[in-house]
Amino acid sequence: MMRTGSKPAAIYFIAILLFFICWPFLFQNSALYYRVMTMTFFYGALALAWNVYALTGNISLGHAAFFGLGAYGSALLSYYWHTSPYLTIPFGGIVGALYGALWYAVFRSLRGARFALATLASVEIPRVIIDNWESFTFGSLGLIGISSLTTLRFGSIVIAVGESLKAQYYLLLCFTLLILFIHWKVMKSKWGWAIRALREEETAASMLGVNTNFIHFATLLLSAFLTGLCGGIYAHLMGLIEPPLVFSLHISALPLVLTMFGGRYLVYGPLLGALILYPLDQLLFHSLLPVGHSILYGLMIILTLLFFPRGIGSWVQKRKTAS
């Protein structure tokens, strides 16, 4: 929006960013915190990637397909051809994008519930194929021993990304910032307005000169690529992947939940959802109720959406701009 609320927003953003950058120096060596925050950033990026296409109004329940394909594409390339993770991850993104292109070709006429359903079903195709193709993908045994992220050397500076949790933390922070930037650019640009027009009233948009088909295509491809990237990162971060894990409904549903929680029409919405829910669940709820911690997670989701139908972010937004 062309409102002048951008100044205070930028200040908040920089403040929070500085916090995340400096924080490891304040709280030394807490492996748990590193792990949790790394994954928080990760899921934030995943949610942002998903929302890129959700902005068109088509809610996908099948992004796990891109994730899984990205994970497997990346892992297999690394395993068989010993390629550096920094190359396999973009490759994973490309594999995801290819499947996204397939989605467009096949699902282009579908909208709403039908689209959601078709995307849901489409996850099974790569999953089952990978699961059965044991000679190549090791099927349901999963792929283990995926090389961790290799060490980076800049002159005399050596960053052992694979081993250091701290390095992983920063790497993922950077990655998520990148995805946030892309998400921002997609929303606040001419492209962003085209997507919004498409979402609000597709027929009118096309009659006003918006190339709706292309917008669907490009946005879907981007979303699929970014999600594939996440899959690739996941593979190298975890070292182990298997079909039910990377193609799970959870991977598809989580971005939806996080985005709805954080605010789907806000640039930082999906990320906010991740920043609040994930650490809360992992740190607070786990310690309160180790076995049924998801209950609190679920309750939190229910209550928030009942009182803040547009997500927490919308409440934050209202408090900032006094409109």
Binding site: I59, V106, F107, S109, L110, A113, R114, L117, A118, L120, A121, S122, V123, E124, I125, R127, V128, I129, D131, N132, L249, A253, L256, V257, M260, F261, L289, V291, G292, H293, S294, I295, Y297, G298, L299, M300, I301, I302, L305, L306, P309
Partner: protein, 219 residues
């Protein structure tokens, strides 16, 4: 089951717009709550209800059927027929259908829409409550097992065209047959693939649902 259904309905009444998405997420949250509630109460082990029912061999073919399966088939047929009769032949059924088709108009016609909603949920709850134990007797039980069944139910409902009973029935059977045939010829590994392809092609070819749309009356 009815209790849970009523609880769900009362809860969903508070959902604001956008209705569908928010309902989806709220239900997701609720599912988490219930699932984990059960997890806490019953632990995560798989459970299996032993069936001691006799096995019957069908005369001409080589097929073997258990008594449980026959009961399953008969019960679901009975329940579906009952529902069909309710929706089509009774006044209550008409009121329900009116509410589905146009809530505002139904209100104007004097139908108590809230109560219809409640009844709808109650009936749904009852049917699911019936299906649960039946399903349980033939499959493993575990807390997250509900998801699979829900998915199947959603799938069948949407692609059969919401609100068309014959479509839903036909859809369910077609899917079941397709799945079983796959398992029979290719083994269980490919089951979901075939179902998915089946589902996707149906969504593409017949977006209105299985049965062709006739001008005028539907259902």
């Amino acid at each position: 089951m009815i209790f849970v259904a009523v609880l769900l309905q009362k809860l969903l009444r508070y959902v604001n717009e956008p209705y569908e998405l928010n309902t989806l997420v709220v239900t997701f949250g609720l599912a988490l709550v219930l699932q984990n509630g059960m997890l806490m109460l019953f632990s995560a082990d798989y459970r299996f209800i032993r069936s001691t029912a006799p096995i019957i061999e069908l005369p001409k073919t080589q097929l073997v059927v258990t008594q449980t399966q026959i009961i399953l088939i008969l019960t679901s047929l009975l329940a579906t027929t009952a529902l069909y009769i309710l929706l089509r032949r009774t006044f209550l059924g008409k009121a329900l259908r009116a509410t589905i088709q146009d809530r505002e108009a139904a209100k104007l016609a004097g139908i108590n829409v809230r109560r219809m909603s409640l009844i709808g949920f109650a009936i749904g709850g009852t049917l699911i409550g019936l299906a649960g134990p039946l399903y349980a007797r033939t499959a493993y039980l575990y807390p997250s097992g509900g998801i699979e069944a829900t998915l199947i139910a959603i799938i069948i409902t949407i692609f059969a065209g919401v609100g068309r009973i014959r479509g839903i029935l036909l859809g369910g059977w077609a899917l079941g047959i397709a799945e079983s045939l796959t398992v029979y010829s290719l083994g269980t590994g490919w089951r979901e693939l075939v179902s998915s392809l089946f589902l996707i092609s149906l969504l593409l070819l017949r977006p209105e649902g299985i049965l062709p749309r006739r001008m005028g009356a539907n259902g």
